[in-house]
Amino acid sequence: MSEQPLIRARGLVKRFGDFTAVDGIDLEVAPGEAFGFLGPNGAGKSSTMRMIGCVSMPTSGELRILGMDPARDGARIRGRLGVCPQLDNLDPDLSVRENLTTYARYFGMSRARARARAEELLDFVQLRDRAASRVEPLSGGMKRRLTIARAMVNDPDLVLLDEPTTGLDPQARHLLWERLFRLRQRGTTLVLTTHYMDEAEQLCDRLVVMDGGRIVAEGSPRSLIGTYCTPEVVELRFPDGVDPAGGLEGIGRVDPLPDRVLLYTGDGDAAVAEVHRRGLVPSSVLVRRSSLEDVFLKLTGRTLVD
């Protein structure tokens, strides 16, 4: 059982009319993994997630979830998945607890089991003191936590989270990350989409970068940075009217942005020393470790996608 991947896709394609949302991707997710889809808007992440969630049928290619075929065994597969959708679809007029119990019944759980499970999950997502209140007035972070609790109600083999922290404030995001990290530690398999690099770095063992419906890179966060980027990045700002680009040649890969210049280098401090030795005087200098964001921007470009 543990040998079998929970998700296996070969040449997976999803078209909507003339538009190809997912353009032939291959992937495998093993039990216990935390797997991420990273990519700009419109990269095909959510379309892929909906196919994995068995609510959208592939146009072509092969897809197996928990070893089953979504076209034939959709309901059986969905019975073992937990889904946290991008758009909240909680019942705003029901209480927090009722949202959990009514949803549990969709999975055929007995009333007693549904109630007991709701109590466990209220503690897990720290909504115990709001259990009896209606959902509508809750904050965005509380609603997300409830949505995640609801996704856990059937004790799923695989949890799908589509942009779990989009739109949340930093405190709410960190609390959510911490809860998801706990799930990971318990061995729950997580598959998530995000366009936050820090989220991918925090939560994922392995991730793929998607762009234009294709997978453009795959690996652990560290290995992606190692492959597509240098260990350190120097951010330099220069006074108005100074164009230093030519003078930086040879220090590292130079990426001139409108407001600053990025230098990709193995050793940030050495690079800064070299800049000063060449007589260039930046108005500000920041040496940082390179992040997934640098990888992401290198792979998917800097053009704004809406």
Binding site: P85, N89, Y106, G108, M109
Partner: protein, 252 residues
Amino acid sequence: MVSPAVAVLERHLCLYRRLWRASAFSSFVLPVLFLVSFGVGVGRYVGEVGGVGYLAWIVPGVLASTAFQMAVGDSTYSVLGDFKWVRGFHAMRATPVGVRDMVVGGLLYALLRVESAVVVFLVVAGVFGALRSPWAVVTPVVAALLAVAVAAPVMGFSASIDHDSYFALLFRFVMIPSALFGGVFFPVDQLPQVVRPLAYVSPLWHGVELCRAATLGVAPPWPVWVHAGVLLVFAGAGGVWAVSAFGRRLRD
């Protein structure tokens, strides 16, 4: 193990428990007020219709019309809302609940609501002495058939539209004419010959005539199986439409 359709019904009931105050008046009190004002007030001027007092004559009409309106009411905004605003159907879609379960669960809920109102109404009508035949006991069955015959196609309609302004068309051109000319307040043969077919194609008229036949113990204008058959066709075709409209809406 609970059937998914029953789980869907339970969600409706759970929501109803939160919001019942808003609808209790219109489903229980309003029909009775209607009965009193028309049956007793207007009835004094009308005298007898078809050999019985006006009150006894309109009781089955108001009963069927109440079932009709509740069935429409439970399958319009709540259905569109669960696609568009609350996205409750999308939440169900991610679980083992299938499209057919969503439709059946909604119909079961409409049935429960209609039946509870019908029972209250029948008790009140009985107190007024408006039930003239033991056949009155089958009126809840007729009301159930009528409710499904109306709720199923209206659910299909609600799942097919993208904006609630379409409901104004439904209310203006289907519901109100049905209620006015469906034989609730006066016999359809009072209408000009050319207009009568409008009543014949409305499930309400068939429901009204069956209910009237039951509470008064008289034969309906058409054979019982024809009236019942029309309602069954509405229910069956409406159910097929609703399931396919739900499926289309949730597929991508």
